[in-house]
């Protein structure tokens, strides 16, 4: 990638020398034309965990860049360097001596998934992770043949003499700057009216190779710029005002935010292919449990399944569309994401696309779940390295995984989030011992059915299943309905023992699951019990030793000083042998690989 920046660079103040060995991966390089004097090369490095672009090659090493010795992805040993602190407090590492220990052509692709390193942490690289990294740029048409091609000429910035600076360098103390950035998100115009008068504003998020920032325009700037700006396009923006950011409402990573003023200019940029499409700091779905509720996060995952659209009426009597989907990533965890409005309506989850959401809101609904708010950006199959990685992983192994959902859906599995356990797992993992009930799914065989007391007399009212008291006068009393009835309905509570290769479990099956297991409905069974005991027994004989997929709920219950695990069958399904086989084969291979 050949991009030249004109950058005024003031090196001064403290220079302290640290010497340490560090294996880092050379990621990316830029040539900076300093006007008079030799070229300077700015370099982005990664240690497999983080990237940092504040490296400069000392001029005596310029030849390494010019001769393509330093090429993206090569693994280097940084032997000597000097750290300078700039006027605004940022640090720059000047590379004095660096060895390439593995050339780029011998490195097969990305190492780890490095994210931009945030300032404030110690710059000492103590982790020596030799992994493979790809260039952490989010660009199309990567041209990594730096040095072989003449650096492209900086397009003439409007106003001639302005220098294009990176977004990351913007601060309140410099006003004459121009940036070149892509608009990733443009809000609608909001108006307000209060005691001080009326006003309107719009906001947008813009991104370039160095970072992102939130921009707001008020009143006259709305008129000037709103219609000019299109999300997804690149613009030269200059002379906005910078101030400290209000981080509460946005996940944009920048200490500052920008406000457009009377001197600001926004001009479309034609040559925009180098500017990244989006800047995201993705959180692994597995990590969402550790985040606070109401946090604003960026996530990316494969849409495993999507539910049908539903419509709700809000408190203000507005109808709004809603759709939920399950998102899974390489942590093996699944989370439910809710989309609203037009995004919900337009969403197409067929072919299990990679979905990325910037600025999703994390909630503790059902444990942990995500919602795409009006300020979130939803991307389907984005053209970024993380998406390709996910696609490759999913096609290879992810598609056969059920994943563990962070969002508990009551009443049966919602969209493929199954928590498969063996019965011995349930005991060794002490499921049900926590504050809340635990749910799990297992394949098990019925080994015993208690036919005594499996039926009870229930209130004949539609929605009441309470046991009725036989008044012995032909009437049956329901305490809940506070009524007497001349009849009752039979209902099942079936106690059963189910077993797999490892363990067994006593479970209680209520009406639906009991009927599914016995293959007869409660009313018929109630009749049969009184009229034909042999036939009644035979129903149970026939039902024994059948294998099903059980979805069970376990909870520790205390009853008169005694604590016992109670397991209830929520759902019974026949075994899907194909799916079961696939899962078993996958688990076997995984077990084998870990030995």
């Amino acid at each position: 990638m050949c991009c030249c920046f004109f950058l005024s660079f003031f090196l001064s103040f403290f220079k302290f020398i640290e010497q340490f060995y560090s294996y880092i991966v050379f990621q990316n390089i830029r040539k900076l034309d300093g006007g008079n004097g030799p070229s300077r090369f700015r370099v982005m490095m990664s240690d497999g965990r983080h990237t940092l672009s504040s490296f400069m090659l000392s001029t005596q090493l310029n030849h390494m860049a010019e001769e393509n010795i330093l090429a993206p992805n090569c693994i280097c040993n940084l032997k000597r360097h000097v750290t300078n602190i700039l006027k605004d407090g940022r640090r720059v590492v000047i590379i004095l001596e660096i060895d390439v220990i593995k050339p780029a052509k011998d490195v097969a692709g990305r190492i780890g998934d490095p994210t931009p390193y945030t300032e404030g942490k110690s710059l000492k690289y103590t982790s020596l992770i030799l992994q493979q990294c790809s260039v952490n740029t989010l660009m199309k048409g990567l041209n990594r043949d730096f040095g072989k091609k003449a650096p492209s000429v900086m397009p003439n910035t409007p106003g001639g003499s302005s220098k294009v600076v990176p977004i990351a360098s913007l601060n309140p103390y410099q006003s004459k700057w121009t940036i070149r950035a892509r608009v990733t998100n443009k809000s609608s115009i909001r108006t307000w009216s209060n005691s001080r008068g009326d006003g309107k504003l719009f906001s947008m998020e813009i991104v370039d190779e160095s970072g992102e920032i939130r921009v707001t325009g008020f009143n006259q700037e709305v008129d000037k710029f709103y219609s000019l700006i299109e999300a997804g396009k690149v613009y030269y923006i200059s002379k906005g005002s910078l101030k400290l950011a209000n981080k509460q409402y946005t996940s944009v990573k920048n200490d500052y935010e920008m406000t457009l003023n009377g001197e600001s200019t926004i001009i479309p940029c034609e040559d925009s292919c180098d500017v990244p499409m989006v800047q995201c700091d993705f959180v692994s779905i597995g990590d969402l449990e550790n985040r606070d509720k109401d946090a604003i996060v960026d996530v990316i995952g494969v849409c495993k399944s999507v539910d049908d659209i539903s419509r709700l009426t809000t408190k203000s009597n507005r109808e709004v569309s809603k759709r939920t989907l399950s998102l899974m990533d390489m942590s093996g965890k699944v989370v439910t994401v809710t989309l609203w409005g037009e995004e919900a309506e337009k969403f197409d989850g067929s072919s299990q696309p990679v979905v990325a959401i910037k600025g999703a809101k994390l909630s503790d609904f059902g444990g942990r779940s995500l919602s795409a708010s009006f300020s979130s950006t939803l991307m389907i199959n984005p053209d970024i390295p993380e998406a390709y990685k996910l696609r490759g992983w999913y096609d290879k192994e992810g598609h056969a995984m059920d994943g563990q959902s962070l969002t508990e859906v009551k009443g049966g599995s919602g969209g493929g989030n199954t928590n498969w356990k063996s019965l011995s797992d349930v005991k060794t993992e002490h499921l049900g011992h926590g504050d809340k009930a635990d749910y799990y799914t297992c394949v098990a065989t019925i080994v015993f059915l208690r036919k005594e007391n499996c039926l009870y007399q229930a209130c004949p009212s539609q929605d009441c299943n309470k046991k009725v008291v036989d008044q012995q006068n032909g009437m049956f009393r329901c305490e809940k309905c506070d009524k007497e009835f001349p009849n009752f309905k039979h209902r099942l509570i079936l106690s059963a023992n189910i077993a797999d290769y490892g363990d067994n479990q006593w479970v209680t099956c209520f009406q639906e699951s009991a009927e599914a297991i016995l293959g007869q409905n409660a009313a018929y069974l109630g009749q049969l019990k009184d009229s034909n005991e042999a036939a009644f027994d035979e129903v149970f004989q026939h039902a024994n030793f059948n294998t099903f997929v059980f979805r069970n709920r376990v909870k520790l219950e205390t009853y008169n000083d005694e604590s016992r695990i109670k397991a209830t069958v929520m759902d019974v399904k026949p075994v899907d042998h194909k799916e079961y086989s696939k899962r078993l084969i996958l688990n076997i291979r995984k077990l084998a690989a870990n030995h």
Binding site: H577, K578, S581, K582, I585, I588, R589, A592
Partner: protein, 122 residues
């Protein structure tokens, strides 16, 4: 060949034929071409490879779809059939030959966990 039916007949695919020459096997595959004489036909396994099956008597019925052949592997890698089963496609869940092949690989990769030989002779 009653003795063949008593002995263990490991399930194999085409790539395992050469290791089972002279032994009884069980081969599941998709019928490809039936010879006009009806005495021989070709089958393909879950990996797409083909093998030849020979019968003692010509076929009396139409053969298509997935078939399970029990027989012996000749020195030329041809399966001489003792008996065969057609896994009908119109009944039950369709047979997934590729998945079967994956299971086959597991059985052969971990013989210590799938001791069919012991089970058969015991």
């Amino acid at each position: 060949m009653a003795s063949l039916l008593d002995a263990s007949k490991p399930r194999i695919n085409c790539s395992m034929l050469s290791q089972h020459i002279g032994r009884g096997v069980c081969f599941v595959g998709r019928v490809e071409k039936v010879h006009p004489t009806g005495k021989t036909f070709s089958v393909s396994d879950g990996e797409g490879k083909s093998a030849t099956v020979e019968l003692n008597e010509p076929l009396e019925e139409e053969l298509s779809g997935i078939v399970e052949v029990i027989g012996m592997v000749s020195s030329k890698g041809v399966i001489t059939t003792t008996t065969y089963n057609i896994l009908r496609e119109d009944k039950g869940i369709p047979f997934d030959l590729e998945l079967y092949n994956e299971a086959l690989k597991v059985i052969h990769d971990f013989p210590q966990h799938y001791p069919f030989e012991v089970a058969a002779s015991g």
